[in-house]
Symmetry: C2
Subunit: 147 residues, 2 copies
DNA sequence: TTTGCTGCAAATAGTTTGCAGAGAC
DNA sequence: GTCTCTGCAAACTATTTGCAGCAAA
């Protein structure tokens, strides 16, 4: 499917609908997030855009991420070491598989947590709204290298 | 079971075995982490110990957490907003249920992720070592308040 | 023309580090 | 007595904010 080819349009529309202006910088950020299969860091986004906009500011990246996040169009993955990675391609909760060597982050297709979620809700009396599931391991690439 | 009553002893022993000295400050930190059912923040630990050790330093809390974490005896739960919570009672991965209102964190008993883990490993060719699963929602207490 | 957006630089907050003295063993 | 640990303060890093000029609509 070509879903992620339209992700940028969806996000842009949502921005417009909420009264936000579409600047070239903002557009560039959205485009990178929309096809963010690699789950980029803020710095990655910044570096990539700086090629086209040498005056680009990190603050602008941060501000736009906050904005788009508030519209629910990106998923933020924060880690204990303080690093953040972003997924604007699938902004809803889904499992990630993370290589602890090369830091690659891959999406996992199993979206069958609903059963678990109900179980947890029943056991704890919580109204569950959301979840996050990460698997940590070593990717086949890094296994082969075996430094 | 009274497992968590012995958690502090287990951690202390592990520290000793690895050649670390047991100072009163370190002991106090371990004791709090060992029965950390509330999943305290660094500040919580600091504040609590400061009552008995007025000269206690935040840096000491941080240094000891790093140390004990390196021995695998506490689980660190980092969140996108940069906050960290610690679980020294069950230092192995297990699901948490988190109230987004009062920030309470409750352990969940379902430890049946093994199946999922195998599934993910097969699909991605990763060697899965670890995982993290959080459910976010509203606890019954906060539901009742309904501000 | 009117807002909101950007870039810069300074501010902020959480965590880490250097160092000298204190204390566990 | 040795060597690690602690407390303090300074350093550090990632992120946020104030402000003046710029630009989208």
């Amino acid at each position: 499917m070509a879903d992620h080819k339209k992700r940028d349009e969806i996000i842009i529309r949502k921005l417009r609908d909420n009264g936000h202006k579409i600047t070239p910088q903002r557009m560039a950020i959205v485009k990178i997030l929309a096809k963010s299969l690699g789950h980029p860091r803020v710095e990655d986004i910044y570096d990539q855009i700086k090629k086209d906009f040498p005056t680009m500011s990190l603050a602008t990246v941060y501000r736009n991420i906050v904005l788009i996040k508030s519209l629910g169009e990106i998923l933020e993955l924060g880690f204990p070491d303080g690093s953040n990675r972003y997924d604007g391609n699938k902004p809803y909760p889904h499992p990630h598989v993370i290589c602890i060597k090369c830091k690659k982050i891959v999406d996992s297709d199993l979206d069958s947590l609903e059963g678990l979620q109900k179980e947890v809700a029943a056991a704890t009396n919580f109204k569950i709204l959301n979840h996050r599931l990460d698997f940590f391991g070593i990717c086949s690439n890094c296994m082969a290298k075996k430094v």
